[in-house]
């Protein structure tokens, strides 16, 4: 049976050929593939700027680029990675592809809006890339006023406009997911039968829909100030730059959860599938996603402890920031409990999952250091902060994305990649990541500030370690491009359910039909029940 597997004759990939069949498609799967290509390009572009940063920091002297250029490098790295890679990464690619089949729907609720969101993303990307080509921007990805409004001579407006536009793509994706999850579920697919991936995306969508408009309006206010000479944040006219920070972080802190929540959802799928066990504490894991989304909105000022906010406000925000640890820990403990006595295996996606758990733990716990008022005075704006958020965003979000991409790759393409090379790459990513960012905790604690292109000699050893690690990490990210592309032509045929997973999406053929299912599935069991999967396989053999 198994050696007779073939790529199905009719699937979403060969339903229409030529550029127009892709650019005008309303199929959520094709849109997801186009997002995949777009964000991969953006990822490597953002990575290129990281290479520039690490090259400069390999030596203490500012010898590779000018300080100005260095400022533009880290700004470009931040803007591209945050707004054009991390925010859309898992939702727009994996969520877009998988949410409809996971709930037994033919498509998202608004297919045209889905395509529109991709175009909006592209337009936002064009503005931002134009600004980079026209000389870059040097404000940092945070666009703090008054520098961004009246000080900087670089292309603030086009970049901010690009971010503003891309924000609407994120809003539309979130809106589409919310409506889809509410209104498109197959018969029998109750809320508590939803895969945790879907719960995580529901929580993410809430953050996208409620948070993103606030950054949009903040950018509008910055734009009228810079472009038209209005004075809203201008301290020279009695305006308040700290208000800008409040509004900025009201979105940009929850944005961290837009990046990490979908990865947490991927983790639940991976851990259940590769232990062949029901996830421990399903409803706790589901609600912890919502709790993270809610808590995420009331902790923003922990980015501003040194900005001169009131001590009492700082105490409240410090306390609230600590409480985010609770739902996060609920997830990690439940995954650990799921692993306990499970049939654990070590396929590539699961390697990423193990990596994720360790790195997310470190990233999360160092977040508590930073939420501590006294300690934050010492650590604020040092490499400790840089290391902390890279542990969450790279060690967490990107590990989750890579794990998910490897896990669902056979579903996306119908083919398997090289298990050998993918394991090598997962290990390279893990080793390279830690080598890059762990030294930054140390160098930051010792007092090296972020965003400087030169540093005292005594920090060189740690910075060289970091730069060396970055090259390993880069190799780890580049390998998948090769073996995944290779798999498109030469990979072994995957079949509908290569991992023996339980989700509805694995009941579709690989690659799926344009309409996903031959007939609307009727759901009769909870998520993560493996008995019927095993039974089905036995029946087949």
């Amino acid at each position: 049976m198994l050696d007779k597997l073939k790529i199905p004759e009719r699937n979403y990939l060969n339903n229409g050929h030529g550029l127009a069949s892709w650019l005008l498609t309303k199929d959520h799967k094709r849109i997801a593939i186009m997002y995949l290509i777009s964000i991969t390009v953006m990822f490597f572009l953002g990575g290129l700027f990281a290479v520039g940063i690490r090259l400069e920091l390999a030596t203490p002297a500012g010898d590779f680029v000018q300080a100005d250029t260095y400022n533009k490098f880290f700004t470009a790295h931040g803007v591209i990675m945050v707004f054009f890679f991390l925010i859309p990464s898992i939702p727009a690619v994996l969520g877009n592809f998988l949410i409809p089949p996971m709930i037994g729907a033919k498509d998202l609720a608004f297919p045209r809006i889905n395509l529109l969101s991709l175009y909006i993303y592209w337009i936002g990307g064009i503005f931002t890339l134009y600004a980079m080509l026209a000389g870059g921007v040097d404000t940092g990805w945070t666009f703090y006023t008054p520098y961004s409004a009246t000080g900087s001579n670089s292309n603030v407006v086009p970049v901010a406009l690009g971010v503003f536009i891309a924000g609407f793509s994120s809003i539309l994706t979130g809106l589409n997911f919310i409506v889809t999850i509410h209104r498109m579920r197959a018969p029998g697919m109750t809320w508590f039968r939803l895969p945790l991936f879907v719960w995580a995306h529901y929580a993410t969508s809430l953050v996208q829909v409620l948070g993103t408009p606030v950054i949009a309006i903040t950018i509008v206010m910055l734009g009228v100030e810079r472009g038209l000479g209005f004075g809203i944040f201008d301290p020279a006219r009695g305006g308040d730059p700290v208000l800008f920070q409040h509004l900025f972080w009201f979105y940009s802190h929850p944005a961290v959860y837009i990046m990490i929540l979908p990865a947490l959802g991927v983790m639940s799928e991976l851990i259940s599938t590769f232990t062949k066990k029901t996830i421990f504490g399903y409803s706790f894991v589901a609600f912890s996603s919502l709790a993270i989304a809610v808590f995420g909105f009331i902790v923003w000022a922990h980015h501003m402890f040194t900005s001169g906010i009131s001590t009492y406000a700082a105490m409240v925000f410090s306390f609230l920031s600590f409480s985010v640890a609770i739902p996060s820990a609920v997830k990690v403990f439940n995954w650990t409990a799921t692993l306990y006595k499970g049939a654990i295996s070590f396929e590539t996606p699961m390697l990423y999952a193990y990596g994720f758990m360790g790195l997310f733990l470190i990233g999360g716990l160092t977040g508590l250091f930073l939420a501590t008022l006294g300690l934050d005075i010492h650590l604020h704006d040092t490499y400790f902060v840089v290391a902390h958020f890279h542990y969450i965003m790279v060690g967490g979000a990107i590990m989750g994305y890579m794990g998910g991409l490897h896990f669902w790759w056979p579903k996306l393409t119908g083919r398997m990649y090289s298990e050998f090379f993918s394991r090598i790459s997962a290990i390279l990513v893990f080793v390279g990541f830690n080598l890059t960012f762990f030294p930054q905790f140390v160098v930051g604690y010792l007092g090296m500030p972020r965003r400087y292109h030169s540093y005292p000699d005594e920090f060189q050893v740690l910075n060289v370690l970091s730069s060396a690690g970055a090259s390993v990490l880069g190799l780890g990210y580049f390998l998948p491009v090769i073996y995944l592309l290779w798999s498109l032509k030469k990979g072994a045929i995957a079949g509908p359910n290569p991992w023996g997973a339980s989700g509805l999406e694995w009941q579709m053929q690989s690659p799926p039909l344009t309409e996903n299912f031959v007939e609307v599935p009727i759901v009769t069991h909870d998520a993560y029940e493996y008995e019927h999967v095993v039974a089905k396989e036995k029946h087949l053999v």
């Binding site: 608004f110 809006i113 919310i178 409506v179 018969p187 993103t212 038209l228 209005f230 305006g239 609307v520």
Partner: protein, 259 residues
């Protein structure tokens, strides 16, 4: 699960589909529910979009209350009040349009929509008059901004002695700000005024654009009692834009302008 039940009811029925039913929905009811939920979620994002501005407004109004009160008095109550009435009336005509679409009255739908668009245009016209007035008085923030305290508002009963002179007339509090401070902080008021009313006007223009499309669709007879979702969605949007104005009017025009 109501929608799950709707699915179950519909499966197996081979009755003719409504032409407006999209392929990925099972029933017209499901399709409409999706649109309604989607629209409300969108309006939620709009609330937060304007919310950022309202938050900034609140901060500065508390900090610079006197400047806000002073600057607010330079706005015309007549034009602001007229526009408020126009918009509220346009909400009524919009609601009538939705009702007509729902009850299969094609020409009434078209007429109510056209009336709504006319009222929207009247609002925008008045806004142009008001903006022109600001330009004339150098009340547009930026390099040419000038808070000339001898230039009071043209209309309204409070157009008398500006309190900047220090007179605590008509129940105003005594101003704590010097003319130089007023020059700076009234600029914040007008920055917010133009950003808020400008964005609101932009939303109205978009709304009128949407209504042009909807009117054309209604004229062509695309709507019936089973399918009038676009009219209803345009209505929700229009009412939202109205409500934003209902908040903007007192916040911008009526700062300390009580009788």
């Amino acid at each position: 699960m109501s929608n799950a039940a709707a699915h179950a009811d519909d499966r197996g029925h081979a009755h003719a589909h409504h032409p407006a039913l999209q392929h990925h929905f099972d029933t017209m009811a499901q399709q409409k529910e999706a649109a309604v939920v989607g629209m409300w979620v969108f309006l939620l994002t709009e609330i937060l979009f304007f919310g950022g501005l309202f938050a900034a407004y609140m901060v500065y109004r508390i900090w610079y209350f006197d400047a806000f009160a002073e600057a607010s008095r330079s706005l015309s109550l007549f034009w602001g009040g007229l526009n408020t009435a126009v918009l509220i009336f346009s909400s009524l005509t919009m609601a009538m349009a939705v009702r007509s679409a729902q009850t299969n009255k094609r020409s009434a739908t078209v007429n109510w929509l056209i009336l709504t668009m006319i009222l929207g245009t009247v609002f925008l016209g008045v806004k142009v008059i008001e903006y022109a007035d600001k330009f004339e008085h150098h009340h547009v923030p930026g390099y040419n901004f000038e808070w000339a305290h001898e230039a009071p508002a043209a209309e309204g009963e409070h157009a008398i002695a500006p309190a900047a002179e220090g007179a605590a007339t008509e129940g105003h509090r005594q101003l704590s700000l010097s003319p130089a401070q007023l020059q700076l902080t009234t600029q914040i008021y007008f920055s917010l005024y133009f950003t808020m009313t400008g964005l609101h006007a932009l939303h109205m223009i978009i709304g009128i654009g949407i209504m042009l499309v909807i009117t054309r669709m209604a004229y062509k007879g695309k709507f019936d009692e089973e399918y009038y979702t676009p009219v209803e969605m345009a209505g929700l949007y229009w009412h939202f834009v109205d409500i934003v104005w209902i908040f903007l009017f007192p916040l911008l025009y009526l700062v300390e302008r009580h009788v």
